[in-house]
Symmetry: C2
Subunit: 343 residues, 2 copies
């Protein structure tokens, strides 16, 4: 009877049978203690089992547990591009909110190929994840496909600009955020109008950023400036910036739909020999760390990433998802790119 307690099983690791033997209980009792059910055991027995688990370094097979419990304690997250610092910060916040509840996160950076993206999302759902968090841009097309294929994974759409029928959507109050930053440029810095660099893929009607920008002009009885559409990337912002700054009527102020676009506009201004904010005031939307390290640092509407990520995780794990649109207020961060402050 001198068999060492830690004699390895097939995979070399300590097995449930090893724990049962050590604690003097049946395999089933070990399972009940480790999985918290379905049957209960006496406190003394549970303590003996937990003692053996700790002593032998037993780690339960979570695949078997997932099959038994019908939950993998995994969530899926799909963002268009996790090298965009906004989505990188969002993904870290979702990972933290998930981990705090004992969930791991499978992440897909979808890229621009819709077929590749759909395959990735279906793969996540096939893995019996307990919930799927889809970012806008990604979301709308994919949820239709999932419904068509009978996939029942709970879905929350984040980074959403507008309601989506049949789904809980979460997003920043982009209309109010862009309105505030545009109003700041018009009233505090007295620009006649503000140009807008906005995404090229979003539905114009639905993108709250454009309506916020329009609203600020209307409220101040000014004619809105030029609009340039471009991808939400540094290169997109750079090219849109060049178009604006080489036009016959050069704007004196520009607001962008994302921090990365503003980084590109700053480069375009430099190349045109323009001083920011002297010749061109710039403001952005997102509030990532990169925006505070540009020169000059960027005035921006900061999105409450932590709060939105927390809400998305809590919601997707809730049994009854309400079909509503939840918006989160952004924070106006004033820096030197609009003419405020220093640095």
């Amino acid at each position: 009877m001198a068999r060492p307690a830690s004699t390895p099983g097939r995979s070399g690791a300590v097995t449930r049978a090893d724990v049962a033997r050590h604690a003097g209980v049946s395999d089933a009792v070990v399972s009940w203690v480790v999985n918290g059910g379905p049957k209960t055991v006496s406190e003394a027995t549970a303590a003996r089992v937990q003692d053996a688990v700790a002593k032998l370094g037993y780690r339960p097979n979570s695949t078997a547990r997932a099959l038994a419990l019908g939950s993998t304690t995994m969530l899926g997250l799909v963002v268009p591009d996790s090298t965009n610092p906004f989505y990188a910060e969002y993904a870290v916040a979702v990972q933290r909110a998930a981990a705090a509840r004992g969930y791991a996160l499978l992440t897909i950076s979808a890229g621009s190929d819709a077929a590749v993206e759909l395959r990735g999302v279906l793969d996540l759902c096939d893995r019996q994840i307990d919930g799927l968090i889809l970012a806008r841009g990604t979301g709308a097309g994919v949820v239709g496909e999932l419904a068509r294929r009978g996939v029942r994974t709970p879905v929350v759409l984040v980074d959403s600009a507008a309601p989506h029928p049949g789904h809980l959507t979460i997003g920043p109050d982009a209309t109010a955020g862009i309105e505030a930053v545009t109003d700041h440029l018009l009233t505090v810095h007295d620009h006649a109008s503000v140009a807008l660099v906005i995404g090229d893929t979003t539905d114009v009607e639905l993108d709250g950023r454009q309506s916020g920008w329009l609203r600020a002009h209307a409220r101040n009885r000014r004619s809105p400036g030029a609009v340039e559409r471009a991808p939400f990337t540094r290169t997109g912002g750079y090219e849109a910036g060049l178009r604006l700054l080489t036009a016959a009527k050069r704007p004196t102020a520009v607001v962008t739909g994302s921090d990365l676009q503003a980084v590109g506009v700053l480069r375009a201004a430099r190349e045109q020999g323009l001083d920011v904010p002297g010749d061109l005031a710039v403001a952005s939307f997102d509030g990532t760390e990169e925006a505070s390290f540009t020169w000059p640092s960027l005035t921006t509407s900061r999105q409450p990433v932590e709060a939105m990520a927390e809400a998305a995780v809590a919601a997707v794990l809730a049994r009854d998802l309400p079909y509503e649109h939840r918006t989160f207020a952004t924070e106006l961060v004033l820096a030197r790119s609009c003419g405020c402050g220093t640095g």
Copy 2:
């Protein structure tokens, strides 16, 4: 017998039994076809099953399949900080390499709390992932803990500066990379010496970046410049930059251990009223997209992220991991921050 073929099972989705009924075979035959074994079936039968799978939109339960096959077709990736654009680009490359082989990726952005990090890694291993890719900084401490707990998950250490006993390590040839960029500053731009901003957590003896920097000075018979240690972040580089630029003997050139540190040094130089590259030449290590959008854009040693990610995924899925250190050559990218080129 008019029961619709797609009558939902417990979870509302098409079940294996639905497919079996539709194809006129047993449940087991469906499983053999879907899982590629263990038994084989005739081509005609397989075709009938596949036809039913397609027609009914059946998606197999991958949790059950994972239990049967002993593989979850999931890999784990742990990086110190996925909002660092270098790790963000690395994670996307690993995700792509994994997806190309049918594997999904569980990612952890570890942050600075070692206990939180270890718990996350153990959680990944409990999920029966087929392999774990650990980034340096993370790696060394964690692999010891895993071994102590009897975890047998295959591990590859990436972003490694040096061999690690008992493990396959993959990393850039940082010594040659930093040597090349330092040599460029010393010889082409004729600086008397080059200061170094390097990480504060890495083992000095093992960090190839510092030895490459020393080697370039030795080769050119120059005394090495000052060394500042700082986190691999924008703020870390900013603070190290301020220390260097306010010292009695201000350097004329500085090389950093990461792009983010160089972004911080650029800001410090600006705040000190110094022109880059006129008053201070700057070069970095990584070659992320952010480095090409700074002003001026950064001369850098670009890491071959795609190739390293591909090698890491291929290796961790290989059955027999050799215990060796594989290095990948970096590419010297010349831009305006060192005095070369424009923009």
